[in-house]
Symmetry: C2
Subunit: 207 residues, 2 copies
DNA sequence: TTTTGAATTAACAATAGTGTTAAACAATGA
DNA sequence: TCATTGTTTAACACTATTGTTAATTCAAAA
């Protein structure tokens, strides 16, 4: 038994991941997943029963990756300024490795209260811990007068905003270049934004 | 003739706008648009021939609104710091009036090179003018030593990032509240972010 | 080698959603 | 009033996509 079950099941999952991530649930066709995976399309129903089941496997996995990604970075004990720089850079690198992830998750939670609730329940406990540790550091620095008073949640939202949005911009700048509109060399766009974000966030912290 | 053509055509357009904005092209059903508009679903094909035609009407209109929104705000002649504050606030207010717009546009351009190109060609000329005016102001202030050297494009991307992302966060914070996770009073979340973004951006500009 | 059960295939059923059509209807102008 | 033209309706055709099934293949254990 189990001739090459893992191989088939795995290649379906990989193809599904690729399709769902780039197209979203609604645009993705199970036939196309099967074609990509190089298997008969009945296999998808054999292993996962429904498109929705298959989607949920992918979604759950990606949601966990997203939930873990950010807040773990904060764990390393460091002085505030180095920590902020480090967090911004590592979060940015995480996005380099998972450029479609935030958009994928957001697209799918927007029309599903269950999924939204699932995500929030995954994020909340970690976020709470991180905020509870970060806020005192910010308060201490503010008391010393090295930074302006800063809400930890705002800082985190700002970091995520600037980093994630850099990836949202990427296709537009690439399109500019493709249309011969020289606005910025797309080649180094992400590298540039990474530096720019670090500087802007550190500068935004200061008095 | 034209019994109440405008009424039917208009209500289809309004229902279509609502559905496409919240669900995107792929999830939206023309039958549901018809139901929402209170018309026979053949009317959609009578007035617009295809779902895609109808979608393009909505998309084109929304894209124009988006393209006009941001850069016009910069036109008012003002000292730099007041101008930046003013731009951030007005852009934020624009998003209050059009909360789904950025996500809608982005979702649809991501898988369509034509639409991406269309958007870029709409944005580019205005952006160019705005940048060409803004950069000298930034350079002058930097020469005076009131701000750190700053790339105009980075500043604009930062403003859009922080503002747009505040609206992306909203459903998550609402969901937190719904699940009894008290992280922030959702009631005032947007007002809070508006202030926070202005301060952070101004602070990020300074030396 | 035979048996067993999982894996695979092709063909098909079911459904949902888009688009078409012919006939009925309503408004307007002659 | 009648003819014309644009509007609306219900019924249907077409298509794409998901999901099912029965028959077949294959690998391993007895």
């Amino acid at each position: 038994m189990s001739k090459n079950k893992t191989s088939t099941e795995q290649s379906i999952l990989e193809a599904a991941e690729k399709e769902f991530l780039s197209q979203g649930f609604a645009r993705t066709k199970t036939t196309e997943i099967a074609r990509l995976a190089g298997v008969n399309h009945a296999m998808i129903h054999y292993y996962f029963r429904t498109k929705e089941n298959l989607f949920n496997m992918v979604f759950q996995k990606k949601m966990m990756i997203l939930a873990d990604s950010f807040f773990n970075i904060f764990e390393k004990p460091q002085p505030l300024f180095e920590k902020v720089r480090y967090v911004v850079e590592l979060h940015f690198d995480f996005l380099v490795a998972n450029p479609m992830l935030p958009f994928f998750i957001y697209s799918e939670i927007i029309n599903s209260k269950e999924k939204r609730s699932l995500l929030v329940r995954s994020l909340f406990p970690k976020a709470r811990v991180t905020l509870a540790k970060l806020q005192p550091d910010l308060d201490a620095e503010a008391a010393k007068g090295t930074i302006r008073p800063m809400d930890a949640l705002d800082l985190i939202v700002n970091i995520i905003s600037l980093n994630v949005f850099s990836f949202f911009c990427l296709p537009l700048f690439e399109e500019c270049e493709a249309n011969g509109m020289k606005s910025i060399e797309t080649k180094g766009f992400l590298e540039h934004r990474k530096k720019s974000n670090v500087e802007f966030i550190l500068s935004g912290l200061k008095k």
